[in-house]
Symmetry: C2
Subunit: 361 residues, 2 copies
């Protein structure tokens, strides 16, 4: 039994179909403080109805964020520089992040960089952000990453081969609009892969060594909701399931303890093959039957019920360098691997065994 | 499916055995802003070890709060006046509420009255508090009311026969220390009755007409935890159950939707017979088998398992005026009764039926 750290909750949230329509009114008191609103919107929406419905005022800026790959430190540095160039020494009154995990994390990172000097790389780690960020509102349009509630914004640093975020209370969103209607047009596979992220990080926490009763309680709640959505209620994208997944993502994000074995393998796949996070998690679990037998069974049942297919052979015929990079990109995640497998994790997940796992995907 | 209001979370919480020992360090940054710390401590602790362990500095004040009866508007007005007299126009840097629901609510009320003019009575209602309260830290020593997370502080106004709080985001605690070790010395019956409050307000919400998915999800989580504590794990006061009840109270408080039929009957008993809230809830459920059959059965099983007894006949041999007051004190709660029973609640809970229920307690 241990005392948790002093844990920050997202201060405000509004939940429900149509919550997005309240964005304008939430911006009013911020505008009164002076300064423009900067919107960071997933480029998916660039030609969609939502882009025309942003409550933007003269002086505001809308940036469409290319989420084809996950945000790098250079990417967010460039966005912060572009923002500063437009601001002439002032600050926005508010940032609004509208999108999936990558967009939400991008806006979080920019929020920190507008009030903290230097480059994003300097803040990859824990408690390195010294000044409060710009006020920010998160509007998830994809459910499952928990980025809307987390205290980090995952950034890839290719030069240092490091996928690590700015872990800080300042990184947390100030306000959320949780509107399940924004997830209606998500392609089915994407909805599944991202929803699975909640299932994954929750069972990894629950099955790991670092436990406390908040992690356990909220993880189990989110896991139960995922089972209801993906196993027990027909189509995962029925209206009530859209709402349930939105809430499961929120609760699962609050539950985040430590991840286990799925996320390290997934990180390896993302670094080497540029697979998106949610899909990479699913590939990872597909070869971890020995380590997570129950969850493996539930996951394969969920895929069957929702008619989602993972194409085979993604790691067949790679070069030796790529197999080595997959191994290195996985095993570097010592903390979660220790959490899940104990200090002998390198003997359990040998290079030979891991490469065989990747080859069998 | 409706959009929730913009919902405030408690900004910070620390959870675990020994969390209380961190109170001093949490006060440091507030002290740096200037002004004393005022502690409002349940009088139960006046001669206990905890009183000697308060991290009080010169200039701080410790008020022992008499929680023999639930706080009235006059009571909190007097406390606010006493505080102001000591402050010479300044403000405390922080209030700390240490106790059960009555003490936690008392500190919340005083926090509002130190920054808002006039008397407590003026703020009984919704969104009447205009100015932010003094910063406040909540330390529950009894688990189940959810007062540590709620946005109200229930106050009794005998002159207006009104039991209603200051419902406001400003009423919410800024920081919680959730330390289950503080509940170790709670008398068994008290632990049961107060823990039952979580079970009650959660199933009343879940069975009521005003629903949303956050209320449903968190209510069910808290209800499940209560069943584990009181039915499925031996002694309700085992260490792990102390921790579980602390978390169930926290989550149940966040789940609070609308109450149903239990709380109105309970309010009647409190007003007329001065029964404490938790015990009054239990008496109420003991006569509501027809309305909440499953929960009635679970409750009676819980009492049997934990060897808690409700003495019979508390409403036998009352005067006609008292029976009338019990009826009036119940039926005045139109919103929850409508929530639970629909607009014909007065035909369902007739005076004759209600008085018979009270007599059978």
């Amino acid at each position: 039994m241990s005392t948790t750290r002093n844990t920050k909750n997202v201060p405000y949230y509004m939940l429900g179909f149509g919550a997005f329509s309240h964005l304008g009114e939430l911006l009013e008191p911020k505008r009164a403080e002076g300064g423009p609103v900067f919107f960071y919107v997933d480029h998916y929406f660039q030609d969609k109805e939502l882009a025309g419905k942003l409550p933007a005022a003269p002086g505001d800026k809308v940036f469409f964020v290319d989420t084809g790959s996950e945000p790098t430190v250079e990417f967010v540095d460039d966005l912060a520089d572009a923002a500063k160039a437009m601001l002439n020494g002032g600050l926005p009154c508010c940032l609004v992040g509208i999108g999936g995990g990558a967009t939400l994390d991008t806006a979080k990172a920019v929020g920190n960089l507008l009030t903290n000097p230097g480059k994003a790389e300097a803040y990859q780690g824990w408690e390195l952000v010294k000044n409060p960020a710009v006020y920010k509102i998160g509007v998830p349009t994809l459910a499952g990453t928990g980025a809307e509630v987390s205290r980090t914004c995952v950034l890839t640093n290719m030069r240092r081969k490091l996928k690590l975020g700015m872990n800080s209370d300042y990184t947390v969103y100030d306000q959320l609009l949780l509107d399940p209607s924004l997830t209606r047009t998500v392609p089915r596979d994407q909805f599944f892969f991202t929803g699975m992220d909640t299932f994954m990080h929750c069972f990894e926490s629950y099955r790991g060594g670092y436990r406390n009763i908040i992690v356990d309680t909220l993880s189990q709640t989110a896991i139960t909701m995922c089972r209801e959505i993906f196993l027990a209620s027909g189509d995962m994208m029925r209206e009530e399931n859209l709402e349930k997944m939105t809430v499961a993502s929120y609760i699962g994000g609050m539950a985040a303890g430590n991840v286990g074995v799925v996320h390290p393998l997934s990180a390896g796949l993302s670094i080497v093959l540029h697979l998106p996070h949610g899909k990479a998690n699913c590939y990872a679990l597909s070869v971890l039957k020995d380590i997570y037998p129950e969850e493996y069974d539930q996951f394969t049942e969920m895929m069957a019920r929702q008619k989602v297919v993972l194409p085979r052979g993604i790691c067949a015929d790679l070069t030796d360098e790529q197999y080595d990079a997959l191994y290195q990109g996985t095993i570097i995640h010592e903390k979660p691997l220790n959490n899940a497998l104990g200090p002998d994790f390198r003997q359990i997940l040998t290079k030979k065994r891991l490469i065989a796992m990747f080859k069998s995907m």
